[in-house]
Point group: C2
Chain length 202, copies 2
């Protein structure tokens, strides 16, 4: 169990937190190693020794995000909640998290990796966030399937259509938050989306 060699002296959690905040604020591309070094207090050698590359550090930072602030979307997979309640918590919880001023605005996963530059490292960074978006989408879809099974939604509900509506609105929250749309208006919008859910149910 005890590792061979000189042990790490830096706090992995603190480093990932600092890197996450930087990537969140500026995006993968715009964040330089020099900034990451300053924010984490580590040297290039330590950074590359621990993460292998800028892309590797981004991956770990995204995992840290998903386990932290990004975990607000996990409620949608909670089968103890009714499907409607799960979607409601997903939307309102995401709005609350993204408008929280104690960290950068919007969602790291929603805003990263939406361009397709030919660069080497960028492809990997894009894959990490795209995978999380796909996972969120799949969980929303499963929630809607549950809603049909439980009778909350009509039998003939277009599953992928409603999924795209919910997921599309969820993704759009990030850009709106970036542009300064208030939490109040977004919560009202989420309620409007949920009213739609109710309308589908009869």
């Amino acid at each position: 169990m005890s590792p061979v060699g000189r042990p790490r002296i830096f706090d992995m959690e603190a480093v990932l937190e600092a890197a996450m905040l930087l990537f969140w604020e500026q995006g993968y591309e715009a964040t330089s190693l020099a900034q990451l070094r300053e924010a984490t207090g580590l040297s290039s050698a330590s950074l590359y020794g621990a993460f292998g590359s800028k892309e590797g550090l981004f991956e770990k930072a995204v995992e840290h995000y998903i386990a932290g602030p990004g975990s607000v979307t996990d409620v949608v997979a909670d089968e103890a909640e009714s499907p409607r309640e799960a979607i409601a918590r997903l939307l309102h919880g995401s709005i609350n998290m993204q408008t929280d001023t104690s960290h950068p605005r919007g969602c790291l996963v929603a805003l990263s990796g939406t361009t397709r530059a030919p660069g080497a490292g960028q492809a990997g960074a894009r894959k990490v966030v795209a995978a999380r978006r796909a996972a969120d989408r799949a969980r929303i879809r499963a929630c809607i399937v549950r809603g049909i099974a439980s009778g909350e939604l009509a039998e003939d509900t277009d599953v992928d259509g409603v999924t795209s509506m919910i997921h599309g609105f969820l993704l759009g929250i990030s850009t709106q938050v970036c542009d300064g749309t208030s939490a109040r208006h977004l919560h009202a919008a989420a309620d409007a989306v949920l009213a739609n859910w109710d309308a589908q149910g009869r």
Copy 2:
């Protein structure tokens, strides 16, 4: 009227089209001057003589986008259409444009400038697209106000809430298209959003 000095020999439209496609595909940051030179066939001197900076070129390329593919959102300001029809055309038209395989996926305006790096040029580039997003949002809002005035929507409709719902979904289309969501599912989602519009009306 006739300008003094050696006249330009390059085709401004063709250059803006090439630059637009590159920025659209890769984003502002990830697109290098070397790529822009190759795509446009111009030298650095010509590029800087005509546009002043990479940021200036981006601004003109965005204007070219807005006048071209991006003009699909203009229908929402067409007062000859009923508000509901205007929103319907806005959403379905945007989906058709963004999933058109003859150009990069998604919307240049929706996907650019959502991060806040401290770089000099980036701030200006961000402003251009943010201004367009704000304009789109204002036009959607005006359309909803019209809908209330015409009786399509209830008197007590939450204007900013419905605006955020429509605009949020519109912005979310781009990320979904980037991730490969099919046009069929997105059109179904747009119909679901519009069903919500109808529900608000009674």
